[in-house]
């Protein structure tokens, strides 16, 4: 086993300010970035703040920016990085800093409560159950893979650069809305708020969110674009508008 020296350049600080601090440590084969952060925490910086939980890419807690790229630290193998240079580890930049690598992601939790909840049609069978075919739920299952790591929220220029957190719910919650809207049992309509309060128009399809998704959800193509199309059909299609006006009611 080849042991190597590496330098981690980790952001240390809180909402009032901070700086990068270099930590040099020795690594063994097969480590991921989070292991090295933990080693530094145990040996050199007991008070280094970092969120983590499952260490297997399933909980989405250890999101950070590794050499400037939004990533899950637990799923970033050291042998994928250039170890000859210091590796920078920064907190997600789209959210307020709590301390070191931990950010205040509570905005995401507030946003979710504003999206209308799942509202199923009446059960299909007398025993209170429904029938759905696998091919009808495949798309929704893709969206439901989301582990809420919020890396897509971090990378999106609408939140990251323009800070439009009040007018825009971000890729994560377009995926969430899409999962509800395309759920075979759901009867709710969420298009009016998608257009207005949830700001889907701000997305200009640069696909950065799709690139950083650790669950490989095709966020832009499968969730956002179909939602944009539904919004267009509902509010901007003159023929659809006319039909809605003149169609027989009841």
């Amino acid at each position: 086993m080849n042991n190597k020296q590496v330098t981690f350049r980790i952001w240390r600080g809180d909402a009032t300010g901070g700086k990068f601090v270099d930590y040099t440590t020795e690594i063994t084969e097969g480590l991921v970035v989070l292991d090295v952060v933990h080693k530094i925490q145990a040996q050199q910086a007991n008070d280094l703040a970092v969120r983590w939980n499952c260490k297997a890419g399933k909980c989405g807690s250890c999101s950070a920016e590794v050499n400037g790229m939004p990533k899950l630290m637990c799923m970033t193998r050291m042998d994928t990085l250039d170890l000859s240079k210091p590796i920078t580890i920064e907190p997600m930049r789209a959210f307020p800093l709590v301390r070191d690598l931990a950010t205040d992601v509570s905005w995401n939790f507030r946003v979710k409560t504003k999206i209308k909840k799942f509202n199923p049609r009446k059960p299909d069978c007398a025993d209170g159950t429904w029938r759905m075919q696998q091919e009808d739920v495949d798309r929704v299952q893709e969206f439901r893979k989301c582990i809420e790591c919020f890396l897509c929220q971090d990378v999106c220029h609408v939140t990251r650069d323009h800070h439009l957190h009040d007018k825009f719910i971000g890729p994560r919650f377009f995926v969430y809305t899409a999962a509800l809207e395309m759920h075979p049992l759901d009867t709710e309509d969420r298009l009016a708020e998608l257009k207005e309060a949830h700001g889907i128009g701000y997305c200009n399809i640069t696909k950065c969110c799709t690139k950083v998704c650790p669950e490989h959800i095709t966020i832009t193509d499968n969730a956002i674009i179909p939602l944009k199309e539904r919004v267009v059909d509902e509010f901007y299609d003159p023929f659809a508008w006319l039909w809605k006006k003149i169609r027989p009611q009841g």
């Binding site: 809180d14 063994t28 084969e29 097969g30 480590l31 991921v32 292991d35 925490q41 145990a42 007991n46 008070d47 280094l48 703040a49 970092v50 969120r51 983590w52 939980n53 499952c54 260490k55 297997a56 890419g57 399933k58 909980c59 989405g60 807690s61 799923m75 193998r77 709590v98 301390r99 070191d100 931990a102 205040d104 992601v105 509570s106 939790f109 979710k112 409560t113 909840k117 799942f118 199923p120 059960p123 209170g128 159950t129 429904w130 029938r131 759905m132 075919q133 696998q134 739920v137 929704v140 299952q141 439901r144 893979k145 582990i147 809420e148 509800l180 759920h183 759901d186």
Partner: protein
């Protein structure tokens, strides 16, 4: 001083936001009471997300011979008959309704051809019984409960740690804790408190549990005077990752075997055929071809021995490794890639059935499971023992205190069947929420004691005082030493003298823990959190070891090399741990109440 702490007041307070805690909070709030929910992580990150295989519920969607009686008998057989039979009965009867309820709340399970919820095979379950979503069923459960719960008016306190339960006149009246981000202490007054804190795997060095699994609820309950049950029964899951070292312990789902994966030693031999226990012989195939057909849902085929109960499979793996027939890194091989002999496009099939396993090995071990076998070995996974509860209400022996999910004991006896945990969470989480709310409605407002709060505050912040006083040892080394000792001395194979050493060792580690010092301040300080966890880890380790010494037989997750057989006498009792008046831990045996006649008959019928 104590009056300065910000105080919150609830009817029902739930500690822990995994499946059981969320389900309890939803149930309680649905009855109209005011509910608070405290969790150590962010909402939706609890260890439930790690559950992969599915939730067991005898819906009979894939095999209509299944019903609650078969599920009940399977659970009791798997638990080797020291289970709380009433819990096993309620669990088997109520699980299907709880699963359907998840669907009504938006869960999207995999489907059968008829459009029903699909069910898969799992170890110890006679028929395909696990409702699932690929191999990410736990995520589906927690997200469904979370997304339903956020519209229920529950007040959630994320990233809070509870340091002690508060009592008044023998009743639990709330908790004292702090927020992990800022380190600000808070008082939570509550008429009823539900513990749903999950597992304690972090007492061991090789575990599938995240940092949260430090046995907080079990320890908090014990120190508040609640009884613990059967702490010796720890489940070592047979298949954890073992290479590279940083991922050692991370779970490899049993569904790999459910989908046809086989275990082999370094000589390529399927060693599970060498040791099939008598009570499973009638249900287990001795023909590999038949075993394969079973995994492909042939109703007339018997299960392959890889799908025997987890305790047994883990010991067989241990035996192969000890006999020198293990893999290069000290485990054995788990191979799903061989099914290319049976299925065209097997790589696509595996990726579809086991997507997160495929990613986990690709990304963490650089190994393609559709082409190569995995290296796996046993990992500390689940505590069957825990807080003693009433089977129907989930009430502990302390008024106002309830427990549900992994931190509670009884349902699983000496060994839990895969898939019975997720269903446990929703069945008994619901019951705990329901009865805690009922209790809260029937009782008056509570008062908390300033002196008690003051004492808890002093204890929690003592590591900083000690640092200022010149103490130097930090918490991490004490934690590592405990984990290594528990792994070595009270692990998968146990011996009297090794466990006696552990009892000694725990006392020495307690003395070190009492002197642990932490630098810095309360704000998001992992060193301090670890110092607080230490007390819980030491408490649960002591309880595990005491119970394991007392049970001089081998049963389920508890295997003693010096007493390798089951003792008929030991089948008649549970171990009960409680706190003596001098603060020490005491142990007594308690007879298992005789099973109802109709249930006895069910077990006879299913033999």
């Amino acid at each position: 001083m104590a009056t300065n702490f910000e105080t919150h007041e609830f009817d029902v307070l739930v500690i822990g936001a995994g499946g059981a805690g969320l389900r309890a909070a939803i149930e309680a709030s649905a009855t109209g009471v005011k509910v608070g929910l405290i969790c150590k992580s962010l909402l939706g990150k609890a260890h439930t997300v790690m559950a992969e295989g599915g939730m067991a519920a005898a819906m009979g969607n894939v095999d209509d011979r299944d019903n609650w009686k078969v599920h009940f008998a399977d659970t009791m057989r798997g638990g080797q008959y020291v289970n709380n039979w009433r819990m096993a009965e309620l669990h088997a009867k109520e699980a299907p309704a709880r699963v359907h309820e998840l669907e009504a709340w938006g869960a999207v399970f995999d489907r059968t051809k008829e459009g029903k919820i699909s069910q898969r095979n799992f170890g110890g379950h006679r028929y395909p019984r696990l409702a699932h979503v690929g191999d990410r069923t736990g995520l589906e459960m927690i997200r469904t409960l979370q997304d339903h719960g956020i519209h229920q008016g529950i007040t959630v306190f994320m990233e809070y740690t509870v340091v002690s339960l508060l009592k008044d006149a023998g009743r639990v009246v709330g908790v004292f804790g702090y927020d992990r981000e800022r380190g600000r202490f808070r008082v939570f007054k509550a008429k009823a408190t539900v513990l749903a804190t999950g597992g304690l795997g972090r007492a061991y060095s090789v575990t599938s549990n995240s940092w949260e699994g430090t046995g907080d609820g079990v320890s908090l309950a014990f120190h508040a005077g609640a009884e613990l049950l059967d702490m010796e029964f720890i489940q070592f899951h047979p298949t954890g990752m073992i290479w590279p070292p940083s991922v050692r312990g991370i779970l490899v789902t049993e569904s790999v075997r459910g989908e046809g994966g086989v275990l082999r030693n370094k000589d390529g031999k399927r060693f599970m055929y060498d040791d099939i226990p008598d009570n499973y012989k009638s249900q287990t195939s001795t023909d590999p071809e038949e075993g394969w057909r079973y995994t492909q849902n042939d109703k007339n085929a018997k299960r392959p021995p890889e799908l025997l109960t987890r305790d047994h499979v883990a010991r067989c793996i241990n035996r192969e490794v000890k006999a020198g027939r293990g893999s290069p890194h000290g485990g054995v091989f788990l191979d799903i890639s061989w099914i290319k002999e049976k299925i065209p496009n097997s790589a696509e099939h595996i990726k579809k059935k086991l997507p997160s396993m495929y990613h986990q090995f690709m990304q963490l071990a650089n190994l393609d499971i559709t082409k190569e076998p995995m290296e796996i070995g046993p990992t500390t996974h689940y505590a069957m023992g825990g807080i003693r509860v009433d089977g129907e209400t989930q009430a502990t022996n302390i008024p106002g205190l309830y427990a549900a999910g992994e931190c509670a004991a009884g349902l699983h006896g000496a060994n839990r069947l895969g898939g019975n945990s997720l269903s446990d969470l929703i069945v008994f989480g619901k019951r705990a929420g329901e009865y805690a709310a009922k209790y809260a409605k029937e009782t008056s407002v509570v008062s908390v004691s300033d002196a008690e709060i003051e004492a808890a505050y002093k204890e929690a912040t003592a590591p900083f005082e000690r640092a200022a006083g010149g103490s130097t040892e930090g918490p991490y080394q004490v934690q590592y030493d405990l984990q290594n000792m528990m792994q070595k001395n009270v692990g998968i194979v146990r011996l009297q003298n090794e466990m006696e050493e552990a009892i000694d060792g725990i006392q020495k580690l307690k003395a070190r823990a009492d002197k642990v010092a932490v630098q810095g301040h309360c704000e998001y300080n992992p060193g301090w959190h670890t110092a607080i966890d230490l007390k819980h880890l030491l408490t649960v380790s002591e309880a595990i070891t005491l119970c394991a010494l007392e049970r001089k037989e081998s049963r389920g997750g508890h295997f003693r090399e010096d007493f390798p057989d089951k003792s008929p006498e030991a089948a008649k009792y549970n171990n009960v741990v409680s706190k003596a008046t001098d603060g020490s831990m005491k142990l007594r045996r308690e007879a298992i109440p005789p099973m109802r006649e109709d249930l006895k008959q069910v077990i006879e019928e299913m033999k």
